[in-house]
Every structure is written in structure tokens, then in C-alpha cells.
């Protein structure tokens, strides 16, 4: 891997961990859901860099779009804030 790519991967990993921690600790569930979709976005970029474009496509479509919308609809019908 070239230097630029390595830097990109390190930044991506930091964003990944930060978003995961954010999703766990945030009490507003809508924000937490958006954070999980950020995780999926970065992960799909990683899959692409690791030469798995099929998995990257699936992750982008399922993780970013469908899971997020299902979670948001569920939150809308129940409670927005965690106790």
C-alpha cells in the first residue's frame, strides 16, 4: 500500500472507532443511528480498498440505506431518547 492509502486507512479507522463510541454513548437514538450508518460507509470504503467490491456494494446498500431507515422508522414509533 502506498503512503497516501495508509494515511487514508488510518484516518478511516479513527473515524470508525469514534463513530462506534459515539453511537454507544449518545442518548439521542436518531444521532446514534446516523453514527452507525457512518460506520457502514467507512467499512464499505475499507472493503473496497481490501479488494472486495461485492461486499462493499452490499455494505453500502444495506448498512447505509436500509438498516438506517428501518431503525429511524422504529425510533419514530417508539421513543427517541434512551433512559
Amino acid at each position: 500500500m502506498s503512503t497516501i492509502l495508509t494515511i487514508l486507512v488510518v484516518i478511516g479507522a479513527i473515524v470508525l472507532i469514534a463513530a462506534a463510541l459515539f453511537a454507544v454513548h449518545k442518548r439521542d437514538l436518531v444521532v446514534a443511528t446516523v453514527a452507525t450508518s457512518v460506520i457502514s460507509l467507512v467499512l464499505s470504503l475499507f472493503y473496497f480498498l481490501l479488494q472486495a467490491p461485492d461486499v462493499a456494494l452490499t455494505e453500502a446498500a444495506i448498512g447505509v440505506a436500509l438498516t438506517t431507515i428501518i431503525f429511524i422508522v422504529t425510533i419514530r414509533n417508539t421513543k427517541r431518547f434512551e433512559d
Partner: protein, 247 residues
């Protein structure tokens, strides 16, 4: 006590994983050198399929894919049976749906983008044996297109009968193609068509046919799931409004 047990359990799992992975020297390609090599060699040679992942999913492991599609079908059926309120909601909410419209930006963008998203999805599953992606990915992309329309236009409804027909026909096509292999005197899901030439659209025998069927099936199932879930959301909104009015 409970925490202690779970910590010991996790440590045990970690130890077992360590033992397995320690046996493989770091950096060597132990896994791909055995079974992966077979696929990488035989997929372009025997099947003339450029995308090895597709050839594994549809040809070498075709039976697993049939099971996978069945699982998705079961999930969507279960969700539909739990959340099914279609008929009464439809009549009760027909006046209400138009009053909660999305903003004009979302509506116009949805109208312009919808055909492009569907086209992209169709491209992904028709070219599943040439480029990355396949039936599942293409189907999900098409479902997101329908999701866009559902979010943009509240009066946009999806006919569940059509969805059911598309889904069933796609499933029957998949199983039927598999059965043809038996009638030809070979095995279930045998690749009975000519494989053609590498990197051509019509190549790989039954692989593109099966992936097109899978694409239709996944798109129909996920669109049905999304429609059911979004409809429940509208119902909850309406009951909340009613209680507010009454209270």
C-alpha cells in the same frame, strides 16, 4: 459472579481463536492456497465467468443461495404477517396521506432519480457475472429507489399483489432452472447451458439467468418490507393525532 463467568468465557474463546490463528504464520495465504485456488482457476476456465464471487455464489454454491433466498422470503413473510393492516389503513388514511407531503426538493429529486436508481440496480444484477455485485446487491439498490419514492410521495402506494406475483415467479424461476438440471440427467442447479466466451454479456450459462431472478426476488421482498414498515409509521402517527384531539 455473572460478570466473572462471562469474562472467563470470553477469555476461553480468545484463547481458542489464538490457537487457531497462531498455527498460520503471519502474512502467509494459507486459506487461499487451498480451496480458493481451485475457484480462481476454474471460474474463468470452466465457466467463463470473470467475477469469481458470482461463480461461487451461483454455480459452485448455488444450493446455498437458494436457501438464502428462502430465508429472506420467510423473513419478509413473517414481517408482513405481524404488521399487516393494509386494507383498513388504506381506506382510513386516503384523505390523510396527501396532507403530509415531503418538501418539493425531495419530490422533484425523487422523480428524477428514481429511474436512474432502478437502472443502476438492473445493471448491477444483469452484469453480475462480469462486474462486482449481483442479484442481491442489485435488488437492494432497486428497493432503495422505491424507498425514495415512498418517502417523497405519501400517496404513492405499492400493490402487494404485484409484489407477491413478482416474488413468487422469480422464486419459481430459480427453482425451475435448478430442476431443469435434473431433467437433463445431471444434478440440481447443473449448469446446462453453453458457457460462451469470457467477458461477454451472454456467458456463464445459467448464472446470469439465476442472478436476474434473484435480483427481482430481493427487490420485491425488500420493497414489500419497507412499504409495510412505513405504513405502520403512518398508522401510529394517526392514532397519536386522534388521541391528542380526544384528550
Amino acid at each position: 459472579m455473572k460478570k466473572l463467568i462471562s469474562i472467563i468465557f470470553l477469555l476461553y474463546i480468545a484463547y481458542q481463536l489464538f490457537v487457531v490463528f497462531y498455527a498460520i504464520p503471519f502474512g502467509t495465504d494459507e486459506v487461499r492456497s487451498k480451496v480458493g485456488k481451485f475457484y480462481l482457476e476454474h471460474s474463468p476456465k470452466d465457466l467463463q465467468v470473470a467475477n469469481t464471487v458470482t461463480s461461487i455464489v451461483v454455480n459452485f454454491r448455488g444450493f446455498d443461495t437458494l436457501g438464502e433466498v428462502t430465508v429472506l422470503f420467510l423473513a419478509s413473510t413473517a414481517l408482513g404477517s405481524i404488521l399487516f393492516r393494509r386494507r383498513e389503513v388504506h381506506t382510513r388514511l386516503s384523505h390523510l396521506r396527501t396532507s403530509v407531503e415531503a418538501s418539493s426538493i425531495v419530490r422533484v429529486t425523487g422523480r428524477i432519480l428514481f429511474p436512474m436508481i432502478v437502472l443502476l440496480g438492473a445493471y448491477v444484477f444483469i452484469h453480475g457475472h462480469l462486474t462486482p455485485g449481483g442479484g442481491f446487491q442489485g435488488g437492494v439498490i432497486i428497493a432503495t429507489g422505491f424507498l425514495f419514492l415512498l418517502l417523497a410521495y405519501r400517496q404513492f402506494t405499492i400493490d402487494h399483489k404485484t409484489i407477491m406475483w413478482v416474488e413468487s415467479l422469480a422464486g419459481i424461476t430459480f427453482a425451475g432452472i435448478g430442476l431443469v438440471g435434473i431433467f437433463m440427467g445431471k444434478t440440481f442447479l447443473e449448469n446446462f447451458l453453453g458457457v460462451g466466451k469470457l467477458n461477454e454479456l451472454i456467458s456463464g450459462g445459467i448464472i446470469p439467468l439465476i442472478y436476474i431472478a434473484v435480483g427481482f426476488k430481493v427487490a420485491a421482498e425488500l420493497t414489500g418490507i419497507l412499504d409495510t414498515i412505513l405504513l405502520i409509521s403512518i398508522t401510529v402517527d394517526e392514532t397519536e393525532n386522534q388521541t391528542e384531539k380526544n384528550g
